[in-house]
């Protein structure tokens, strides 16, 4: 009943509610409430607990565990960007959070996030959570490589995080209404239709919008919020980050790295090709050389 109410609210909001209405406020609270009690992935918890038995555990390893788990990442970015710290600039990566909060605080935050067990993480056969995580990680790795190679960026950590979190809205839909979302995913698979379009028709919002709504209410950096929302609607004017994440997600889907729940494409749209100067086929070919990295991803989520 609760989930039904939330989703009914989504529909109402999308069609009739003004952006700052009390009803929308309530939807924010409900979505945030679900995420607050959402545990991270069990593999991350196991690795984290094993690692933190050693009081002198390596900060590098800690960063690696956290930034491979969308739930931990989202929650730590939420905290460090919150008004409590009042930092003068956006914190866009776990390394950046570590520089401000310090190793011990980040470690203890991760441990406290890891010990949440109030709500079991739901998984559905149409989009098993481990497959979703593999897709998210694959997108993150590919996005940071594309940013480095095609946009010539030096600090690509924000692109990694954007890749990791771009589909967080799907996780929310699975948690909020697993059966209904399962049917949406099934329909997309059978008819090779557009997932965001069907989400909009059936649920009233697409996964980009619900993920962005959460990121926005958690005061995550606006570049990240925009990317989560807009990577589904790219055109020639879109930001580098939105286009890169959209492209990386297409590559990960085409390479069948986990499952995205979306229909794959045979070629990049023109705007991706023009901005990044590469073709889908070429990127896939390039990433065949990265089999070690991909294997590493698989083994991480495989426990």
């Amino acid at each position: 009943m609760f989930y039904g109410t939330v989703l009914a609210s989504f529909k109402v909001m999308k069609k009739t509610l003004p952006a700052d209405s009390p009803e929308q406020e309530s939807i924010h609270q409900r979505v945030c409430g679900v995420v607050d009690s959402m545990p991270p992935f069990p593999q991350s918890v196991m690795r984290l607990m094993e690692m933190t038995k050693d009081v002198n555990c390596s900060p590098k390893d800690l960063v690696s565990i956290i930034e491979h788990d969308p739930v931990m990442t989202m929650k730590i970015l939420k905290l460090v960007n919150s008004a409590f710290f009042g930092l003068s600039r956006d914190v866009v990566s776990i390394q950046h959070a570590l520089v401000f909060l310090g190793m011990n605080t980040v470690k203890n935050l991760a441990v406290s996030i890891a010990s949440i067990d109030s709500l079991p993480q739901k998984s559905i056969p149409e989009l098993p959570m481990e497959s979703f995580l593999t897709h998210s990680l694959g997108t993150a790795f590919i996005a940071q490589r594309l940013a480095k190679d095609c946009i010539q960026l030096k600090d690509v950590s924000e692109y990694f995080i954007a890749g990791l979190l771009h589909g967080f809205g799907k996780m929310l839909f699975v948690q909020l209404e697993p059966q209904r979302y399962g049917k949406v995913l099934q329909h997309v698979k059978e008819n090779r239709s557009s997932l965001p379009q069907l989400e909009l028709e059936e649920i009233g919002m697409n996964y980009g919008e619900v993920g962005a709504m959460l990121a926005e209410s958690w005061q995550l950096p606006s570049s990240l919020v925009d990317c989560i929302r807009m990577h589904l609607f790219c055109d020639a004017k879109s930001s580098d980050m939105s286009i890169t994440i959209a492209a990386a997600s297409m590559v990960a889907t085409a390479m069948e790295l986990g499952e995205s729940g979306e229909t794959g494409v045979d070629e990049f749209p023109d705007y991706v090709h023009q901005r990044l100067g590469v073709k889908l086929e070429a990127v896939i070919e390039q990433f065949h050389d990265l089999s070690d990295e991909v294997q590493q991803i698989q083994s991480m989520v495989g426990g």
């Binding site: 002198n56 905290l79 930092l87 003068s88 390394q95 690509v156 950590s157």
Partner: protein, 293 residues
């Protein structure tokens, strides 16, 4: 402005013949502003002897700024005598703790649990106010501005910059300069180094040009590798910080509890003999020492 060291020892009180010259009390700094306001930086055990000098100033308003909630910076708080006397006002400022999700108020509440202390919080007669601060959120006390600056320690630690009528000081609380967690051969090394450089520079900017810097110099550079990540600075890191920030006078504090006065002086002598620093005055903080300007 008058600044007086009431406690300069780190970690745990260290009384005894070997520490009698520099003192064994933990961190507490007494400050009287030009317009007569009392600001106290940290409530280590040094706050107890300070409180015994305040009787003739009752009723008073004391502003206690806590850098962080580790024992050596709060242990004297329940023994701050003005708390027990009606008509006094005490305002306690400090950081919010993201792990326990507690504000500054909970420090005293926890300390005054009946099991640990015979007087309960509700029995304190002074008016006590609490204010959890955010990074950069300045507090105005008369003509004086106090600005919290997020430093680097295992728990959230604010350094405080105090500005009054063109005079200024900065106290780091406990602070270890940020360091690179990656090896120079790692891909992430230069990216992380850029973040650290920006972060360390941000701290230097906040300290820039103060008359007086009081800084956590727990270790020697030789001791540091075994203590890396513990959240404390070295004599050398503080000298560099002072030089970069163009401060006039530097006091090293948070002396190691196991360090005797003789050892402390020998280390200090050796450190400043290594090279010439562009700092007018460099000294060791000593309990009871007063700086007035």
């Amino acid at each position: 402005m008058i600044v007086r060291f009431r406690g300069v020892r780190g970690s745990i009180p260290s009384p005894g013949p070997a520490t009698v010259r520099y003192g064994g009390n933990t961190t507490c700094i007494e400050i009287w502003t030009d317009d007569g306001e009392l600001i106290i930086l940290d409530a280590g055990t040094g706050i107890f002897p300070l409180s015994q000098t305040l009787f003739d100033k009752f009723p008073l308003h004391a502003h206690i700024f806590n850098t962080h909630s580790h024992w050596d910076h709060i242990q004297g708080l329940p023994f701050f005598i003005p708390l027990f006397v009606p008509n006094n006002k005490v305002t306690i400022y400090g950081a919010y703790d993201p792990i326990t999700q507690n504000g500054i108020r909970e420090i005293l509440t926890e300390q005054l649990q009946y099991r640990f202390f015979p007087i309960r919080e509700c029995e304190l007669n002074a008016q006590i106010d609490y204010r959890s601060l955010r990074q950069g959120e300045s507090v105005q006390i008369g003509n004086t501005t106090v600005t919290p600056v997020l430093m680097n320690h295992p728990v959230t630690n604010f350094g405080y910059r105090i500005d009054c009528n063109g005079k200024s000081l900065f106290f780091t609380g406990d602070h270890e300069p940020c360091y690179n967690i990656y090896d120079s051969k790692d891909d992430e090394f230069s990216m992380y180094q850029a973040l650290i450089d920006e972060r360390n520079q941000g701290i230097i900017d906040e300290i820039q040009g103060v008359d007086l810097l009081i800084a956590d110099s727990s270790y020697t550079s030789a001791e540091y590798p075994a203590k890396k990540g513990w959240g404390h600075g070295t004599f050398d890191s503080c000298l560099e910080m002072a030089e970069q920030a163009g401060v006039k006078q530097l006091f090293h504090t948070h002396h190691e509890p196991t360090r005797s006065d003789d050892e402390l002086e020998a280390i200090f002598k050796e450190v400043i003999a290594k090279r010439k620093y562009d700092i007018s005055e460099i000294d060791l903080a000593r309990e009871g020492n007063t700086i007035e300007w």
